[in-house]
Symmetry: D2
Subunit: 144 residues, 4 copies
Amino acid sequence: MTDSSSHLERLVALNASAAFNRLAHFEVVAAGDGTAEIEMRWSDDLTQYFGYLHAGVIAALLDTACGFAASTLVGRVTASHFSMNCLRPAVGRRFVAKGATLRAGRKQVFAMAELFAENEQNQRVLVATGQTVLVPLAQESLER
Amino acid sequence: MTDSSSHLERLVALNASAAFNRLAHFEVVAAGDGTAEIEMRWSDDLTQYFGYLHAGVIAALLDTACGFAASTLVGRVTASHFSMNCLRPAVGRRFVAKGATLRAGRKQVFAMAELFAENEQNQRVLVATGQTVLVPLAQESLER
Amino acid sequence: MTDSSSHLERLVALNASAAFNRLAHFEVVAAGDGTAEIEMRWSDDLTQYFGYLHAGVIAALLDTACGFAASTLVGRVTASHFSMNCLRPAVGRRFVAKGATLRAGRKQVFAMAELFAENEQNQRVLVATGQTVLVPLAQESLER
Amino acid sequence: MTDSSSHLERLVALNASAAFNRLAHFEVVAAGDGTAEIEMRWSDDLTQYFGYLHAGVIAALLDTACGFAASTLVGRVTASHFSMNCLRPAVGRRFVAKGATLRAGRKQVFAMAELFAENEQNQRVLVATGQTVLVPLAQESLER
């Protein structure tokens, strides 16, 4: 078990090492034992054909929150399964993805995440939920 | 039923209207009644923390192939559920996502897609599969 | 909004009307606005090949908890998508499935459920989680 | 690689060892390298509240077809993730579930299945599709 500031420091570095996360301006804002929180400001570059946040970016936020949450417990992971429910159109000035680990096994880790959209009045609404099955990379050596 | 060239023309325009699809350089290369095919060249900007294609971009390719496949039958759609299995590390010089409609109902459309990575020798390997539940937008008016 | 005893009464009747729920001895033990709780005692008849609860019965418990939770808000529903994560082997003297509605839209309802196994000491452990996309039957008339 | 009759023989025995599969009268009718086919006759005991096949039984058929398909390649497996899309009401005199392995890794196996309903005229219609992430039991020893 590690203290939260050390988790946060490590995830901030991990986040900076991912080109897509830099492109989309993901920010790690909180981390705990088995949890992580990511934020992203609205960007007109990341939309689908009628101006909402693109499903791929919703997936990226949820998947990253899950993966980072898991990595506080088991180190680097890779997702083998990802699913999400899109509850409402994803619009807002900022998005917050909160990930939590459900079970960290030796071979597989299960995590889930919620994505909130924040409006100009700082009100948050749940826009999507995600689930992942992750594989720890140490045992895995990038081969499945 | 519409001829394929008209499907393709319409999807090319739809694709061009999505900011994220332009950013990631998605190209619609084929379309039929209930099917669509998207390609994307490798880009170092779209990677995760150890240099593979980011899960969010894998999701974006699969989801777009599903949505475009469905839209050839029922017009504009939005995904309410998306899931994917990541079978192998997503690396290659080019990616090809092939979407197909499983069932186009009045209220919901089911589609699936396969993502192939292509190497320098033009060999293709299946790296991920995706499934979507989509809602046609006419009936929906962007409100769920 | 209806009081909880009336929700419970209605779900008990609904549960009794489903042949499989009778066969597997599902019991509705709690209901609220958007929530429902199902219990089932262990039965040797419902196992898979090494003696744990069968994945189909895990799915049945999670799906029923989701559907019943949703039906307290929108009446009869049918699942169009179901997914589950099996976190631990499902063994115990009793199982408890707790369902909650995430979003009840006009065309689609999103619900999730947790399945707990209870041991001889009444200790509960989370063994599986499930998610559903449901379609209200009034608008649907059993046709998708 | 083993010949098909030996696969079939082994799966028939595996199927007979699962209490739920006996209760629901699952029959293994075909098996190959990475594939398996299960049949089940209609039974009024396995229905939900308006008389269609229960979602749990649909899940059981799809999950079993996936697991048996995978087990022809890697021996005994257990599902860690299962998802399904229910395309049409599941009614018919008989159901056929066809499972196929997408990728058999050392730590995880990915499989998918289709469920067909057969009417009195022996016409088949696709009623549901399923996907699984499976863990081989040898490496796993029933502990995740």
